[in-house]
Amino acid sequence: MSEGLLITGDQNPLHLPAKKSTDDTLWRSLDVGADADYFLFEVSSESEAYRVIGLVRQKLLPAIYLKPLILINSGGDLSKSLQDQVDFVISSQQLEQQLPAKLLDEVESINRRIDALQEQRLKADTNMALRVVRYLYSRDREVEPVASIQNRGGYTFTGIESLFDGHDQSIWQTLDFLNSQHLVQTRFVTRTHQCASCGCAFLNFKETCPQCESEELDADDLIHHFRCGYTAELSDFRQEERLVCPKCDQTLRHIGVDYDKPSMMYHCRSCDHRFQEPEIATTCFDCHRTAPPENQIHRNIEAYKLSMLGVNAALYGLDSLFASILERRLQLLPLDVFERFIAVEKARIGRYKVSHSSLLLIDIKGLEQIYLTLGERTSEVYEELANLFYAMLRSSDLISSRNESLFLMLLTETSPDDAKIVEGRLSSGVGELLKASLGASPDIISQIVNVDTALDLTAYLESFLSEHHAE
């Protein structure tokens, strides 16, 4: 048998070449497996296993990189990290017989989720964030941090590690991005200190002298002998194996009964300073920079799980769900196209000087958060919102969006006064709809601008955003 074995689900085995390098044959052969239920593979070493997993998980088609992976263990213990990176591990004996029903059920449920991506499963995903979102969606599980000395951040996420091609910082960056977009929910696990200059989590914590910063310190307990009141450092009491009071010559017997240790004292060997509260210094094992702990990065280490917004992103892409619904219903224009239409309209109005057009801006604050409140009902509400927009606009009007909550509408042949009526109806309609769904009135800001030659859309949008999104 060759070193690597890759079998598609329909018992149509594909052999992986034993060579470490990946060649065209292999890449093509994997694409052939797009319709397979799972990939089954056997390797002779863990490093070979990681290579195979990487080959699969770094492919571009969701139908390939999301494929359930089953590792055949031909004997020996597998590392926790490897087990975490494949979906299932089975023994070679199990392979001889039928695969367990439970395993097949789980494979099926993963595949059902992959199928939900519909035609997108056969389109290349290049966006790392989207790949992670889709992977988490297909596995329907939380990805947990795992302490690791291989990873300079001190933790890695073995569950999604194979999606990345080795730059471990990019895992953190991607997860941070997903978190900032509310695509994931976090669960606090622990906390680390990381080097402020290089991000390394391997820091040497040490006590230092507050006067000269030396690390060469002695620490001694203070001893208080109750019966005579004598108080001195432990070393003054030590006589061979016993503790004897230098003042009254009695042997100390039981702590708490005839003596106690009221405090502790540090002594600096290099400057002779005595103190009770040493400074703490941290030195990075990697870049060797030393700083007090408060100047290092304190980072919460968290587990991640897709939020409802994340589920939406997995299904419809990273653009907002509302935008995608509007796009379908109203032909939402990309902003740059919309800008070109505005330019044409400005020129037309300037030339004939007979007609008016208005630009209506409507900003529905916190629209992207609705997902967190409504969950799966969100798309229904979005459909209704889209209907509302649809009812207000005529076929000659154009709509675009600047971000997930700010929408721009070009109302042609509409005076500012008429536009005011549209504005009023639209914002009260949106307000009522959202209030009925959320139980609270949303914050809606709208503005009307007369479209004339003086209008500079880009500058206008910037000033609108900086005014209403002071962040």
Binding site: P210, L222, H224, C228, G229, Y230, T231, P262, E277
Partner: protein, 434 residues
């Protein structure tokens, strides 16, 4: 009525005078006269003669410039420390080391002192998480101080600008002197009637009384609030023993080593005293009990003719026991005597006693003023107006508190469970019958 009293006085024979007023004539008058005469005829002329020697001592002190450790043990005293550290920088003697020991404070003391330590305003700060009591805190301070002389100071006291220089001079006048007591004055004297009477009492008891005891070589206490010690002596003794009354105790132990203990009336330390008679009673109750314990019980050996017998120690103890214990009970005997035998003359006897004691207080106060003249403030002199209160204060109020304390101490050994020591310490000490 006053006419009757006048007739009563003029009609008295010498024998009657003594039998009606024997406590005053036999004890108090002698004491006052002896004290005042000694101050005026011996101490003041001697101090004048020693002017040259003091100047020489001062020259030696500033030539040698030894490090002097000011140790301040205490619990929850943090609020006083910043101003104390600040005031010490204004001393004429500058080579000081300030060591603060925090005996398990549960207020802001730690925050305040850590900051002062970091800023270099105090030289050492030691915090004991677990309270160990006064002796342990003082011993911790001693352990972490390095000065040739150690000054034990209460956190809420304030020193006159030249006080440290003055308290150190006796060490340079006589090599046998191992401890010098400072003169405690009342800082808050104008606050209440209680603080005024205490201020007068301090002038008599501490300033005059200790100066005389010191001159006679029978000084038995160096106040914990302000006392200077030679480090070598403290080290020999292993520091302070478990209190209460640890100030008197350490003084006694130094005397037993054959070293001298003196009082320096011009080394002034102002301290705040209890502001009500109620609080004052609690304070005195504590002091009086510890007096009995350390004089009559722990140091009873100075009365025995053993190898380290010294006449001055013997006298110091006998004098103390006599005046405090015997005179106290004699006073009750006198009260009983007057009521049962001279009941008809009661009011006359009270009025006469009152006048006699007021005059005696006046004489004593004036002598104190002469003794301390250089270091007095204007408000100190105005206390003369309150002298008529003193017979009531010393004759009645203090006697009642003291009697109660003595009885309690003898009967219950109550001071072992003193609240100034944690229970763990009191328990061990009580078991060992120290």
């Amino acid at each position: 009525m006053l006419n009757d009293t006048w007739d009563f006085i003029t009609g008295l024979s010498a024998a009657q005078l003594v039998s009606y007023f024997w406590p005053f004539f036999l004890f108090d008058l002698t004491r006052y006269v002896v004290f005042d005469v000694l101050i005026l005829t011996l101490y003041l002329p001697r101090r004048k003669r020693n002017k040259q020697r003091r100047a020489e001592a001062r020259r030696l002190l500033f030539h040698e410039k030894p490090l002097v450790s000011v140790i301040v043990p205490g619990k929850n005293e943090g609020k006083h420390i910043p101003s104390l550290a600040e005031s010490l920088t204004r001393q004429t003697y500058k080579k000081l080391e300030i060591v603060i020991v925090d005996d398990g404070s549960d207020d802001d003391t730690e925050i305040i002192c850590r900051k002062l330590h970091k800023d270099g305003k105090i030289d050492q700060y030691v915090r004991n998480e677990v309270r160990g009591g006064k002796a342990s805190a003082a011993n911790t301070a001693l352990y972490y101080s390095t000065g040739k002389y150690v000054i034990h100071l209460d956190a809420d006291s304030e020193l006159r600008y030249d006080s440290i220089e003055t308290i150190l001079l006796p060490f340079y006048m006589d090599a046998n002197i191992a401890a010098v007591g400072g003169d405690i004055r009342v800082a808050n004297l104008n606050q209440t009637m209680a603080t005024r009477t205490q201020a007068i009492e301090y002038f008599k008891g501490i300033s005059t009384g200790r100066t005389v005891s010191s001159m006679l070589g029978i000084l038995r206490i160096i106040a914990g609030a302000y006392g200077a010690f030679r480090r070598d002596t403290l080290d020999r003794l292993g520091g302070w023993d478990v209190g209460p009354g640890l100030d008197g105790d350490i003084t006694m132990k130094i005397r037993k080593l054959g070293l001298k203990v003196v009082h320096e009336p011009h080394a002034v330390c102002y301290t705040n005293v209890p502001t009500s008679f109620r609080k004052l009673a609690r304070q005195r109750f504590r002091w009086d009990r510890s007096m009995v314990r350390f004089r009559a019980r722990k140091h009873v050996d100075v009365l025995m003719p053993t190898s380290n017998f010294r006449l001055s120690n013997f006298i110091a103890t006998v004098e103390n026991l006599f005046y405090n214990l015997f005179l106290n009970f004699k006073w009750w005997f006198y009260v009983a005597q007057v009521i049962f035998f001279y009941g008809a003359l009661l009011q006359h006897i009270i009025v006469v006693n009152y006048v006699l004691y007021t005059l005696a207080n006046l004489a004593e106060f004036l002598v104190a003023m002469v003794l301390l003249r250089k270091t007095l403030r204007k408000q100190d002199l105005l206390l003369i107006l309150y002298l008529p209160l003193m017979p009531l204060y010393t004759g009645l109020y203090l006697r009642i508190v003291r009697t109660y304390a003595y009885i309690m101490e003898f009967i219950h050994k109550a001071s072992y469970a003193d609240r100034w020591n944690p229970w763990k310490v009191s328990r061990v000490v009580k078991k060992d019958r120290l």
